[in-house]
C-alpha cells in the first residue's frame, strides 16, 4: 500500500554498469581491510594465543566475569539513554534549524556543530567546572552523576541528529503534506503519517550513529563518570594500554563488534522498512516561523542552552589571567607556552589544517564511492554487508585499532607505524562512516524518474550523473565535507596514539597544556580550545554555503 505512485520504491534504471560498481566498491573496501579489519583481527587473535598455543579460556573468563557484565550493562544504559535524549532534542532542532527560515539561522547551524569536535578532555573539564560543588550549576547536584554523562553525550551528539535529519527535511517536498492537510488530516496526523515516515531513514541513520558514538564514548565517561561509571571503551583502554591484558582486549573488542553489528541490524531493518523514494525538491521548501512552531522552538532553545553553557565556561576561563581578566592567553597563542609545547599554538593550528585537508579529502573520496555503491539497491545482499563494514570503525575502540596497527602493519611496504601519514589515514577512517551516512539518505531519496527521463532523452551515464545526481548531491557533499573536516580537526583518540611531538595537532596541544599546572597553561589550553571551536564553526558555516540555496529546479 506504500506503492501508491508518489512514494514508490526506487528501482535503478540499467545505467550503472556492474563493473563501475565493482571498482567503486573495491577501493574503500581495500582501505578498510588493510587499515581496519586486518589490525583489529590481528590484535584480537593475539588475545587467544596463550603460552602453550591457542586457547579460549582467558577470553571466556573475561566475558564471564561480573566486572565485564557490569561494564556492558553500563555501556548499554548510557548509550540507550544518550541516544534517546539526543533524538528527543535533536529532531525538533532539525525542524527549527533546517525547515524553518529565520534570521541568524546559519550562525546557529554552525554553532551546534562545535561541540561535536571539541576534545573530550576539554568538554569534561567544562562540564565538571559547571557542575562541581561550588560551580555555577553546583546546586543541581549532578556532579559525577549518570545525568551528567548523558548531558555530555547529548552535548556531543546533538549536531549529528540535527544535521542528518535536517539535511533530508530541508529538501522534503511540502506538497505531499499540504495535500494530506487539505484532505482534512490534522497537523499531528500529517507529521506522524507523512513527515515522520519520510524522515525515518535519516532518523534511523542518526540514531545508529549516535548510539555508536555513545557506546564508544571515552574521555567524557572517564572524566565525568568519576569512578563509578565505565564503558567498554574505557575498559579496553585500561586493560590494553595500562595492563597489556590482551585476552581482555580481545574479549571486549568482540563485545564491541557484537554491539555494533546488532545496532546496525536494527537500524538496517528500520531503514529497509521505511525507505522509499521521497520527493525531494530543489526548490527551497523552508517556511517562516509560525505560532504553531512554539513547542519545537522551546525544545530547541533548551538544547541550545545545554550547548552554550559549557562553551561559555571555556570562553570565560580563557580570559581569566593570574591578575584578573585579559587577553593574555590569546596573545600567548603565538608562543610555545613558555616551553610547555614544542611548537607555537598557531603552528599546531597549521598542522591540524594540513592533516584535516588530507583526511577529509580521503574520507570524501572513499565515502563518495561507498555511498554510490550502497545506494545501488539491486545488490541488496552485498549492500547490507558494505553498509555494516563502513560503520564498524565507529564502534570499535581506537585503542584496539591503534595497538592492532603496531603488530600488523609492521613490515614493509606497510610499516607506517612511525609515519605521519598514519594520522590522516586513521582520521579518514573515523570520518568515513559520517560521510557515508550524510550522503546516503540524500542519494537514496533521489527520485529515479529524473534519471530515467534523462536516460530516455539520450543522456549518457556520465551526463546523467553530472546533470541529475550531482546537483542534488552537492548539498550532501558540502555537509559531508564539513563533517569530515571537523571530525579530523577534533580527532584525539587515534591521533594521540600516533602523535608526533614535533608536529602536534591542536587537540594534542590542548591536552598537553591542560595536563600542566599553572594558570597560564590552563588559560592557554582554554584559548586554544576556543580557537578550535571557532575554526570548526567556520568550517561548518562554509560547508553550509557549498550547498545550493536557490532553486536547482527540474
Amino acid at each position: 500500500m506504500d506503492d501508491d505512485g508518489s512514494v514508490r520504491r526506487w528501482r535503478r534504471p540499467g545505467d550503472r554498469a556492474p563493473a563501475v560498481q565493482g571498482v567503486a566498491a573495491l577501493l574503500p573496501l581495500a582501505f578498510l581491510a588493510v587499515f581496519f579489519a586486518y589490525p583489529v583481527v590481528t590484535l584480537v587473535a593475539r588475545g587467544f594465543r596463550g603460552d602453550a598455543g591457542w586457547t579460549l579460556a582467558p577470553v571466556i573468563d573475561v566475558l564471564a566475569s561480573p566486572r565485564t557484565g557490569r561494564i556492558v550493562r553500563q555501556t548499554l544504559l548510557l548509550a540507550v539513554t544518550g541516544t534517546a535524549a539526543s533524538l528527543v532534542l535533536g529532531v525538533p532542532g532539525a525542524y527549527v534549524l533546517y525547515r524553518l527560515r529565520f534570521r541568524g539561522q546559519r550562525a546557529l547551524r554552525a554553532l551546534v556543530a562545535v561541540p561535536f569536535v571539541l576534545p573530550s578532555v576539554v568538554v569534561g573539564v567544562a562540564f565538571r567546572s559547571l557542575l562541581a560543588v561550588g560551580g555555577p550549576l553546583g546546586r543541581l547536584g549532578l556532579n559525577e552523576s549518570f545525568a551528567a554523562i548523558v548531558l555530555a553525550l547529548v552535548f556531543f551528539n546533538y549536531s549529528v541528529v540535527v544535521r542528518t535529519v535536517g539535511a533530508l527535511w530541508a529538501g522534503l517536498d511540502r506538497r505531499t503534506a499540504d495535500a494530506a492537510r487539505s484532505l482534512g488530516a490534522g497537523p499531528v496526523r500529517v507529521f506522524r503519517t507523512i513527515t515522520l515516515r519520510a524522515l525515518a531513514p535519516a532518523i534511523a541513520s542518526a540514531a545508529a550513529l549516535v548510539f555508536l558514538f555513545c557506546a564508544s564514548a571515552f574521555g567524557v565517561v572517564l572524566v565525568l563518570g568519576g569512578t563509578r561509571w565505565g564503558t567498554v571503551e574505557t575498559e579496553i583502554w585500561y586493560q590494553t594500554t595500562q595492563l597489556l591484558n590482551l585476552p581482555a582486549a580481545a574479549a571486549l573488542s568482540i563485545v564491541q563488534l557484537v554491539l555494533v553489528t546488532a545496532t546496525l541490524a536494527v537500524a538496517n531493518a528500520t531503514r529497509a522498512r521505511q525507505e522509499r523514494a521521497l520527493r525531494l525538491t530543489g526548490r527551497p521548501s523552508a517556511q517562516p516561523v509560525r505560532r504553531s512552531d512554539a513547542p519545537a522552538l522551546i525544545v530547541t532553545g533548551l538544547a541550545l542552552a545545554l550547548l552554550v553553557l559549557p562553551l561559555a565556561t571555556l570562553v570565560t576561563r580563557s580570559f581569566r589571567t593570574a591578575s584578573g581578566w585579559g587577553l593574555d592567553h590569546y596573545a600567548a597563542l603565538a608562543t610555545a607556552g613558555a616551553g610547555t609545547l614544542t611548537v607555537t599554538v598557531w603552528r599546531a593550528v597549521a598542522n591540524s589544517l594540513v592533516t584535516a585537508v588530507a583526511a577529509a579529502g580521503l574520507a570524501l573520496a572513499l565515502g563518495f564511492l561507498a555511498s554510490f555503491v550502497l545506494s545501488g539497491r539491486r545488490r541488496g545482499r552485498l549492500a547490507g554487508f558494505f553498509d555494516a563494514a563502513f560503520m564498524l570503525p565507529l564502534g570499535i575502540s581506537a585503542v584496539t585499532v591503534g595497538f592492532g596497527f603496531l603488530i600488523s602493519l609492521n613490515r614493509p611496504p606497510l610499516d607506517l607505524r612511525t609515519s605521519w601519514a598514519l594520522i590522516p589515514l586513521a582520521q579518514a577512517m573515523v570520518a568515513l562512516p559520517l560521510v557515508v551516512r550524510t550522503l546516503l539518505p540524500t542519494w537514496r531519496a533521489l527520485d529515479p524518474r529524473l534519471r530515467e527521463a534523462a536516460a530516455t532523452l539520450g543522456a549518457r551515464p556520465a551526463r546523467v550523473f553530472a546533470t541529475v545526481d550531482l546537483p542534488f548531491l552537492r548539498r550532501g557533499l558540502g555537509l559531508a565535507a564539513g563533517f569530515a573536516f571537523a571530525t579530523s580537526l577534533g580527532e584525539f583518540g587515534a591521533t594521540s596514539f600516533l602523535a608526533r611531538p614535533d608536529k602536534p595537532t591542536l587537540p594534542v596541544v590542548v591536552y598537553r597544556l591542560i595536563s600542566r599546572p599553572g594558570v597560564d597553561n590552563f588559560g592557554l589550553a582554554m584559548a586554544a580550545a576556543v580557537v578550535l571551536a571557532v575554526l570548526t564553526a567556520t568550517v561548518m558555516a562554509v560547508a553550509e554555503l557549498l550547498g545550493p540555496k536557490e532553486a536547482v529546479g527540474w
Partner: protein
C-alpha cells in the same frame, strides 16, 4: 519482492570479511617467528642516517637542542610519542619482534620492572655518567639510564588554610585527623600516573597490607577520587585557576612553581613528607636498527645543555648536579630529603594487585 538488505545478509558478509582478515593475520603470524631475530630491522630506520626516538607524551625539547643533535651526529631524527609511560612500555612489549624505534625515553620507575622483565631493552651504560646521576640508577640490569626525576607530593593551598585558620598538614597521618575531613582530592591510580605514585608513597610508608588500612581511614575521612590529574588539579583543587572546593591535591613538588604570582610568592606548597620519587629513564631498544645512534641520543640527553632545559620543558628535575636550575626553582623548590620508596622490582611484581586491592577498598 524487494531485495532490501536483511540483517542476516550482512552478518554473512561480516563473517566473510572477518574470514579474509583472519587469513591475512594468519599469514603474517606465520612469518613472525622467522623474522623475529633481533637483527631484523624496522623499515623506518633501515638506513644508518636515521634514528627513531620513542617517548612518552610529556616529552619536550627545544628546537635548538634537537637541531644541535642532528647537526653533531648527522642523524635525521623522528620522534614518536604514543601515550603515557605505561602505554609506551606496553607498546614496546607488544612490538618486541619488530621494534618501533631505536631508543626510548620516559620509562619511569613504576614501569621499569615490566620493561626489563620483558627484555625489550639492550644493555647500555654511558661511559661518563654526569655527577649525581648514579644516585638514581634503576637496578642491576644496566639497561636503563636515569635522565630526570620529580617528586609526586600532596600540594596544599596555603591561602585557603590561612583563611580558615587551619595549620597546613605535614604528614600522611595528619590527613586522617578530623580537622582535615573532606579536604583532599587524589587521582585514581588505575588511570593516572601521579595517582599511582601517591598510592606507592602510602605503600612505602605503611607497607603491604598496612596501606589498605590507611586508605580505608582516608576514605572514612572523605577523600575524593578524580579520574585524571587535570581533572583533580584544574577543577577540584582550590589553589589552581579552577578555584575548586578541595585545598589538598595530589600533584608534583614542582607544581607550586607554576602558581607563583608576579611578586614571586607561591600560593600553594608541596608537602615534603608525602612524596614518592618518580625517576624517568632512557634505554636502547633491543633489536634497534641504529644502536649507535640510540647510544648517542642517550649521551645527548645527559649533556648539561639538555639537562638544564628539563625543568622548563618537562617540569622535572635533571639528574645531573652540574645542570643549572631556573632561578625560581633554586629558590622555591622543596626537594624532599626523604621521599617514600618502593623498588622497581616490587612495583613490577605487585602493581596490578595493589591497584585492584586499592580499588576494592576505596571505590
Amino acid at each position: 519482492m524487494r531485495t532490501a538488505p536483511r540483517p542476516l545478509a550482512f552478518l554473512q558478509g561480516l563473517l566473510l570479511s572477518t574470514g579474509l582478515a583472519v587469513t591475512l593475520a594468519a599469514c603474517s603470524g606465520a612469518s613472525d617467528p622467522a623474522a623475529g631475530g633481533s637483527s631484523d630491522a624496522p623499515a623506518s630506520a633501515a638506513t644508518a642516517g636515521t634514528l627513531t626516538v620513542i617517548t612518552h607524551d610529556s616529552f619536550a625539547l627545544s628546537d635548538a637542542a634537537k637541531a644541535k643533535f642532528e647537526a653533531e651526529t648527522g642523524l635525521s631524527v623522528t620522534y614518536v610519542a604514543p601515550g603515557n609511560a605505561g602505554t609506551v612500555v606496553n607498546e614496546l612489549v607488544l612490538t618486541k619482534d619488530s621494534p618501533l624505534g631505536d631508543v626510548v625515553f620516559g620509562i619511569d620507575n613504576t614501569f621499569a620492572g615490566r620493561a626489563v622483565d620483558a627484555g625489550v631493552l639492550a644493555p647500555y651504560t654511558p661511559a661518563d655518567l654526569p655527577a649525581g646521576a648514579a644516585d638514581f640508577a634503576a637496578d642491576g640490569s644496566g639497561e636503563l639510564t636515569p635522565i630526570d626525576f620529580g617528586d609526586v607530593c600532596l600540594n596544599a593551598d596555603t591561602v585557603w588554610f590561612a583563611d580558615h585558620s587551619l595549620a597546613v598538614p605535614v604528614t600522611l597521618d595528619d590527613l586522617l585527623k578530623p580537622e582535615y575531613k573532606d579536604l583532599l582530592v587524589v587521582t585514581n591510580p588505575a588511570t593516572s600516573s601521579p595517582g599511582l605514585a601517591f598510592l606507592l608513597a602510602t605503600i612505602g610508608a605503611k607497607g603491604d597490607p598496612g596501606y589498605l588500612d590507611y586508605w580505608a581511614a582516608l576514605k572514612a575521612n572523605g577523600v575524593k577520587v578524580a579520574a585524571s590529574w587535570s581533572d583533580a588539579y584544574g577543577v577540584d583543587f582550590s589553589g589552581s585557576s579552577g578555584k575548586g572546593a578541595y585545598p589538598l591535591v595530589v600533584s608534583y613538588a614542582s607544581s607550586p612553581m607554576y602558581e607563583m604570582g608576579d611578586d614571586g610568592s607561591a600560593p600553594t606548597t608541596a608537602l615534603a613528607e608525602t612524596c614518592f620519587r618518580q625517576v624517568e629513564y632512557a634505554g636502547v631498544i633491543a633489536g634497534a636498527a641504529n644502536p649507535e645512534g640510540a647510544q648517542q641520543f642517550i649521551d645527548f640527553l645527559l649533556t648539561d645543555a639538555v639537562q638544564s632545559e628539563i625543568p622548563d620543558t618537562m617540569y622535572m628535575l635533571p639528574v645531573s648536579s652540574s645542570a643549572s636550575l631556573p632561578a625560581a626553582w633554586a629558590r622555591v623548590l622543596n626537594v624532599s630529603p626523604h621521599p617514600w620508596t618502593v623498588s622497581a622490582a616490587d612495583i613490577a611484581a605487585h602493581r596490578d594487585e595493589w591497584i585492584s586491592e586499592w580499588t576494592t577498598t576505596v571505590l
